[in-house]
Symmetry: C2
Subunit: 346 residues, 2 copies
C-alpha cells in the first residue's frame, strides 16, 4: 500500500506567497488525512495534485490561526462540491483537535495565560445542520496519550506538546501485516492454493485431513512491520512520556523549526523550536527521518534563495544535521508541495 | 488627490489559484479601505503593491465565506506586525458590515431562509482585548440608506441589496472641493497672495480695506466635483430607492456578474447577477464606468484563456456592452491585481 506525505504550507505565523500556512496531507490508497489547515489551504490543495473532496479526516494540532483559519473555507468548498453532485454521497469529514472531537488538554501544556478558557472550549449554540456532535477525548494516563481511533489499517493517537496554548502531536501507526505465505512449503505439506491460504494469512491455524495442524507462524514469512508517521504541532518541548513512547522508531517525524539555533531564546519565548531542539526529539525517539517545517516567513524557499540572502533555510538543515551526526537520522527540509513517500519497511 | 481601486480577488464561491475570493482596496492618499475579505486576502495583499498595515477600514458586504473568511487572518497579521514594532502606534481597524459596526438588514433583502437568525447577529461573549464595541447602524428611511461615517474628505453610505442572505452595497462619495482661485482677478482687485486667499478658498467672504466685499463665488473657478465609487456586494437585485439615488452618476460602479446571460435563471436562483443585469443597474444610475467582478471560477482570467475554452470571461464583457449600447458607459472586467485609477473630474 502506497503512503506519502505532501506539504501544503510550511510557513509559520501567516501565509505568504512563498510559504503557505501550516497544512499537510497524509495520503494512503484512496484516503487523504489533513493535518492542520491554515488560511489558503484549499487554494494550496488546488495547486497540488490532491483533491479536497478526498479528505476524510482533519487533525488540528492547536487553535492558532496559522493552523486553523483555512478550515471554514475548506469545509464550505467540500460541502459545496458535494451538494452540487447528487450522485456523490455526502462525505462526512471527521475533525480531531481542540473542539469537535476534542482533545482535552492538561494544564502543563502551556503557560497560564495560554490555557483555553471555558468559554473557548464550551460548545455554545446548536450544531450546524450538517454537523454531528463530537466527543471529548481524555488523556489515557497509562499510555500518556489520546486514542483517536483505530481501524483495520491504522491506529491514530495524539500526544501532548508545550506551546503558548495547548498543542498536540499525532502518531499514525500502521498495523503490522502478515508476511508472504511460503507457498513452496505449503505445497510440500499438501495444501493447494485456495481459501485456506487466506485463513493462514489472517492468522488462523488450519487442520489438514490428515489431522496435522499447520500454524500460521510455520508458513508465513516475517511480518511486514507497519509504518509510523508522527506529526508534531507547534512546540518548544514535549510533555510527559507519551511523545517519545509513541514516536519511537518513527519512519517520518515531522517537527517544527521556526527559527535557527542562534535564536533559541526567542523561539522558546514564543513556544517554538530550533533545528537543534527538533533534532533532540528525533534522536530521543530514534526516528528514521526528521522533516523540518513551520519556518519563519523570513526563510525563503531554497529555489528563491539568492546568493548573499541573510536567512538561508538550508542553514536550518545544517543545524539539525550537526545535532544528528552519527545518528543515521536523515534530515529533510519541507517545502510547499513537496511529497515524501513513506516506503514499506523491509 | 490620487484615488484608485485595486482588485485582490475577483472569483466567486471560493478562492482558486487563478482568482482570489472577493476583496478590493480603495486607496486614497495614505489610506486603504478594504471591501470584503475572502480567504487568502492577506496573501493577495502581499502579492500586490499594497500593505496590509495601511488598511484603516474594512467593509463587509455580507456574511458569505467568500467575502469574509480572510478577515481573522488579516486582523491577526496586522496586529502581529503592529505589536512587533513598539514604535508604531496601534492602528485601530474599523469594520463595517453585518456584525461589528452592524448594518441592520431589513426582511426584504433575502428569502426567508436567508434571514440572519438572532443567534447569528447577537453579540455573545466578551469583547476581544483589542476589540472595541461596535454600534448598530439602522436604515435611515428618508434616504433609504445607512450613514456609516463622514469626515472632511468623504461621506460613506451603505444601501440594501437582495441576495440569499442580506447583502449591502457601499457608496464612497468624495466631497466637492472649491475650484482654483482666479489669481489674475484677485490681483486686479488688489489682493495679494496670503492668508486671505485661504479664507476665500475655504468659502469665507473677505472685506478689503476699501470696504469692498469679495465673495468666494466671484474669485473661484468652478468647484471640483467629488468622485463617487460604488461597490455592490453579491445581489440579484437592488432593494428600495436607496441604491439608485446613491449611485447616481458614479465614476466607478463595481457590480458582480457571476454567470453569463444564458444562465440568468441559475444566477438569480443563487442570488447573483448576469452582465445584462449589472448593466441595467449601471444604466439606471447613469454610472460612468461599470466594473464587473465576482466571476464564477469557471471563467479563467483572460491571460490564461486558451483558444476553444468554453467559458470565456470576455464574453461577459461583451454581454454588458451589448446591454449598454449608446449609453456611453464603459465596461471593464476586473482581474486580480488590476488597479483602476479614479481620475479627478474636469
Ligand atoms: Zn504556528
Ligand atoms: Zn502556534
Ligand atoms: Zn460571493
Ligand atoms: Zn454571497
Amino acid at each position: 500500500m502506497s503512503m506519502d506525505v505532501t506539504f501544503l504550507g510550511t510557513g509559520s505565523a501567516y501565509p505568504s506567497p512563498h510559504r503557505g500556512a501550516s497544512a499537510l496531507v497524509l495520503r494512503t490508497e484512496g484516503e487523504c488525512w489533513l493535518f492542520d489547515c491554515g488560511e489558503g489551504t484549499q487554494t494550496q490543495l488546488m495547486k497540488s495534485q490532491l483533491r479536497a473532496g478526498r479528505i476524510t479526516k482533519v487533525f488540528i494540532s492547536h487553535l492558532h490561526g496559522d493552523h486553523l483559519f483555512g478550515l471554514p473555507g475548506l469545509l464550505c468548498t467540500v460541502s459545496l462540491n458535494t451538494s452540487c453532485d447528487p450522485q456523490q454521497t455526502l462525505n462526512c469529514v471527521d475533525i480531531y483537535g481542540p473542539r469537535v472531537h476534542e482533545l482535552e488538554p492538561t494544564s502543563d501544556q502551556s503557560p497560564e495565560e495560554g490555557q483555553l478558557s471555558a468559554e473557548m472550549t464550551a460548545e455554545h449554540g446548536p450544531l450546524h445542520p450538517q454537523e454531528q456532535p463530537g466527543r471529548t477525548i481524555s488523556l489515557d494516563v497509562s499510555s500518556d496519550s489520546y486514542l483517536l481511533f483505530e481501524d483495520k489499517k491504522f491506529v491514530v493517537k495524539a500526544f501532548r506538546l508545550f506551546h503558548r496554548i495547548p498543542s498536540f502531536g499525532f502518531c499514525v501507526q500502521e498495523h503490522d501485516r502478515p508476511g508472504r505465505l511460503k507457498t513452496e512449503l505449503l505445497k510440500e505439506l499438501g495444501l493447494k492454493p485456495g481459501p485456506l491460504y487466506g485463513r493462514l494469512k489472517a492468522g488462523d491455524p488450519v487442520t489438514l485431513e490428515s489431522g496435522h495442524v499447520i500454524l500460521p507462524s510455520e508458513v508465513l514469512e516475517e511480518a511486514i512491520p507497519g509504518r509510523k508517521v508522527c506529526i508534531l504541532g507547534d512546540c518548544s518541548s514535549i510533555v510527559g512520556e507519551g511523545p517519545l513512547m509513541l514516536c519511537s522508531g518513527a519512519d517520518l517525524l515531522v517537527h517544527e523549526a521556526t527559527l535557527g539555533n542562534e535564536q533559541r531564546e526567542k523561539a522558546v519565548d514564543h513556544g517554538h523550536s530550533t533545528p537543534e531542539m527538533a533534532a533532540a526529539v528525533a534522536r530521543a525517539c530514534c526516528a528514521r527521518r526528521l522533516v523540518l517545517y513551520h519556518f519563519s516567513q523570513r526563510y525563503k524557499p531554497c529555489s528563491l534563495q539568492k546568493e548573499g540572502d541573510e536567512d538561508d533555510v538550508s542553514e536550518l538543515k545544517r543545524q539539525a544535521e550537526d545535532a544528528l551526526q552519527d545518528s543515521g537520522i536523515e534530515v529533510t527540509l519541507a517545502e510547499d508541495f513537496l511529497t515524501l513517500p513513506v516506503p514499506l519497511k523491509r
